[in-house]
Symmetry: C2
Subunit: 189 residues, 2 copies
Amino acid sequence: MISLTNLLNSSNKLDDDVTNKIKASLKQVVVKKGTVLQRSGKMSSNSYFVKKGLLKSYVIDEKGKEHIFTFAPENWLISDIESQSYNSPAVLFIEAIEDSEIEIISKHSLELFKELPQPVIYNELQRLLKRCGTLQRRVLMLMSFSAKERYNEFIKTYPDIVQRVPQRLIASYLGITPQALSTLRKKYK
Amino acid sequence: MISLTNLLNSSNKLDDDVTNKIKASLKQVVVKKGTVLQRSGKMSSNSYFVKKGLLKSYVIDEKGKEHIFTFAPENWLISDIESQSYNSPAVLFIEAIEDSEIEIISKHSLELFKELPQPVIYNELQRLLKRCGTLQRRVLMLMSFSAKERYNEFIKTYPDIVQRVPQRLIASYLGITPQALSTLRKKYK
DNA sequence: CGAGCGCTTGATTGAGTTCAAAAATCGTGG
DNA sequence: CCACGATTTTTGAACTCAATCAAGCGCTCG
């Protein structure tokens, strides 16, 4: 929801208390591929801004199967939105797919946003609206597209991610098995 | 995204220019069941706040099949979020399922939000975050739940809507056919 | 009271899953 | 830099859930 690059750089004319407090509340971490930043069940889950690398968020269903919710490459924000907005325990796991540099935005950091100046908040509103739009698209694709159509959409929308990520993860994002994806790809050549 | 009840009522201490301009830009309409308020393809799509009645939003796929994206009962807001945030033509149809009283929030009204005072905007941000959380939940359910589990979730989450809406619409929301839903229901009794 | 819409039921079909195993690719230590 | 083990991708067969097709029932409202 909130890209902190924005705050840290472009809004430097507003060097007020709040901005500084927020800056101070952020944690920078460097993590290795495979690091789990957040687990399902965690209270007051964080947001993670990807400065470098690639993260994924996912659920694990009762059969132990992983379902990828989102990927987050450079300059993307990733979080468990439902957990954040309803103050409920996290559902999503968040994990590094590549070695990554991450900015952690804690619950506490988010609360400080309440006092940010109007233009910054309005900006955040616009950004969140886009994120919401992407989710709408995702729901509609899951409902009205075949697996093949979803795959085509995916490579059109995220051409860079297709290269960086093993197929089984893409299959998981699309809501199909790796075997089914393999079959799709064969047919399409 | 933006509940105007909020604006019109609770924020009446802010009787400034902007609030009044926004109030003036809203249109109130009364529509009969079956009225299509918005069609796919429309540029600069509106938001619709339901004062009374029930709306649905949906896409129509290339086979002519309808897929319900959301229901909106009293006090809910419904819109094509993707169209709004990317200024692209609408994908969603929006239609009255019952005779309804609707407040139309045009693109123009939305733009006036840019000048609203910070607390109001911050409120909108919170509200949008919840909407986003609901969408996240929807995606995860579509991916990790069986049709039966999705149906159970639906009646738990929207007990009132189950009563007011024909089964074929619920089936469409769940992403299954009316026949499949009928079979589910039979097994579950 | 009849026509049409919506719900149910059954038979058939098909997309995608599951299970199993082979082929290809990756990554790490020697 | 190569080799070997581990992981990933592919392939195939059997199966499953839900879609499609088709028909009958029941309610509502005109």
